[in-house]
């Protein structure tokens, strides 16, 4: 066979097989494509992407769909250019009556050795619905407290500026906030070591005013503790 014909044949085979692999295999070159397929195959959305967190081995898509928020993990698949669908937490209904409306999820960080892995990546995210809250504090055990100043809900940073700024590879802990049409989206991320059995997810999340007054406190174990649950205000 003429060399030029063989070259054309090789290129056609390469293109055809690449297209076939991409179409059928479940790998994606673009993380957002994986996110969209993940949502659609779950019969959910399409969500507006609130922000994207990049943790190196995975990207986390925080989506808003009507009154629901979601978190979808898109993992790298060996080759840096290929992505595949990871864990997914869909359909948390936003509770606009709550000043703090947190959700949380965790993923075991695989070390290839044990079920406990290399610890857990815990992600706490949600909305602050009360504009008088200007500071969030998250205690994730052993005296570690993450603090997050909230931006003005009517201005400040944009979704684009938040994207890829959070959950950087190697970060032990990170936090970010983003004003949205209805409240301020917040995000905490931290790594719990494998032997950290004392704290499940985190101890508490607090909302403080600009003069450092404690307005709200939420615990994943007990729910809202401040203000007291029977408080009508």
């Amino acid at each position: 066979m003429n060399r030029k014909k063989a070259l054309i044949r090789n290129l056609a085979l390469t293109a055809g097989c690449t297209l076939l692999i991409y179409t059928v295999s479940g790998f994606f070159f673009v993380p957002e494509s994986a996110f969209r397929v993940s949502e659609r195959s779950s019969h959910y959305g399409p969500s507006e992407i609130v922000c994207v967190g990049d943790a190196g081995s995975a990207q986390y898509f925080f989506g808003s769909f009507e009154n629901y928020i979601s978190l979808t993990e898109i993992k790298r698949y060996y080759l840096p250019v290929l992505w595949t669908i990871g864990n997914q937490y869909l359909g948390h209904r936003r509770d606009l009556s709550q000043a703090l409306d947190p959700q949380y999820s965790s993923h075991v960080l695989s070390d290839g050795l044990s079920s406990a892995g290399a610890g857990r990546r815990v992600i706490v995210y949600g909305y602050v619905n009360d504009p008088s809250v200007t500071l969030l504090e998250l205690n994730y055990g052993d005296g570690h407290v993450l603090r997050l100043d909230l931006p003005d809900p009517d201005g400040g940073s944009s979704a684009q500026s938040l994207q890829r700024r959070v959950l950087l590879p190697g970060d032990a802990a990170a936090a970010a906030a983003l004003p949205s049409d209805n409240g301020v989206f917040f995000l905490f991320c931290f790594i719990q070591p494998p032997d950290s059995s004392a704290v499940m997810y985190y101890r508490w999340l607090r909302g403080l005013s600009s003069d450092q007054t404690l307005l709200y406190e939420y615990s994943p174990q007990t729910g809202v503790t401040i203000p007291p649950p029977d408080s009508s205000s």
Partner: protein, 267 residues
């Protein structure tokens, strides 16, 4: 005298000719192919001369001389076997081989599994002696890209004198989008009711893996005499409604109807 000249001086006319030709071809990965091809030509001509009675040594010299000027031939072959095209050709060959291998492993084998899965996986493993009645159907609904096909309902009882038993719904589902990724689907998010409006809870089931998933869904405590089963799905603006007239022993027959309500196909 350099090593090449020394080598040429001690080798046959064919070797000298081939060495001169190949010295003009820069893409050395083609040298073996070119050498073999030219050698075949020389051997053919040499055989012809020997058949005409020319002696071995003279036949080889005549055959080589018929090949023309070595340098001219070498330069022509160099143009034909340019290093740029040669490397592109070689790399494209490697790339094509890798892609074909990956395509076979990652797509052809799963496709084969999909073709075989209806024969390998069977959701219909219901004990025959417990079957009170069964009826086949072919009812399709679609949400997003997923097609759900209800194949059969089977009512079973361990105690034939009881008023209730288990209703098994056998169904398949697949995604129209040809992509082996995403999430599976169960009927656990559906609402199951009968003609009286009584609701039945999803009590178990089975789903096979693969692009074509064969599934069964079980509803315990289902009345033996129920006349109709309604299956309703309504989540995140996706809805479907299926109505299955049941055929308990002694009853008549009726049509089965299934509809995608507005928004059922959210594509």
């Amino acid at each position: 005298m350099n090593p090449t000249e020394k080598n040429s001086a001690s080798s046959s006319p064919s070797d000298q000719f081939l060495s001169q030709v190949l010295s003009c071809v820069r893409f050395r990965y083609d040298h073996a192919v070119i050498r073999q091809e030219l050698l075949d030509h020389i051997e053919d001509r040499k055989d012809n001369y020997m058949e005409e009675g020319v002696k071995d040594g003279e036949a080889e010299i005549l055959a080589v001389s018929c090949m023309g000027d070595a340098r001219e031939l070498g330069e022509a072959l160099n143009r034909e076997h340019s290093p740029l095209l040669g490397w592109i050709w070689r790399i494209s060959g490697w790339a094509a081989s890798i892609c074909v291998f990956l395509a076979v492993v990652l797509t052809i084998l799963p496709l084969g599994h999909m073709m075989l899965s209806p024969f390998i996986n069977s959701a219909d493993n219901i004990p025959r002696d417990q079957i009170v009645y069964s009826q086949k159907m072919e009812e399709r609904v679609q949400i997003d890209d997923r097609v759900i096909i209800l194949r059969k309902v089977v009512f079973t009882q361990t105690d034939r004198n009881a008023d209730t038993g288990t209703l098994h719904i056998l169904w398949d589902n697949y995604e129209k989008r040809l992509h082996f990724s995403g999430w599976g689907f169960t009927l656990s998010d559906c609402r199951f009711t009968d003609q009286s409006g009584r609701e039945y809870l999803f009590s178990g089931g089975y789903s096979s893996a693969g692009p074509l998933s064969r599934c069964s869904t079980e509803l315990d405590g289902f009345p033996k005499g129920a006349e109709t089963l309604y299956i309703d799905y309504d989540r995140y603006h996706r809805q479907f409604h299926i109505e299955i007239p049941l055929l308990p022993p002694g009853s008549g027959t009726g049509p089965i109807s299934g509809t995608n309500l507005p928004g059922g196909d959210a594509s």
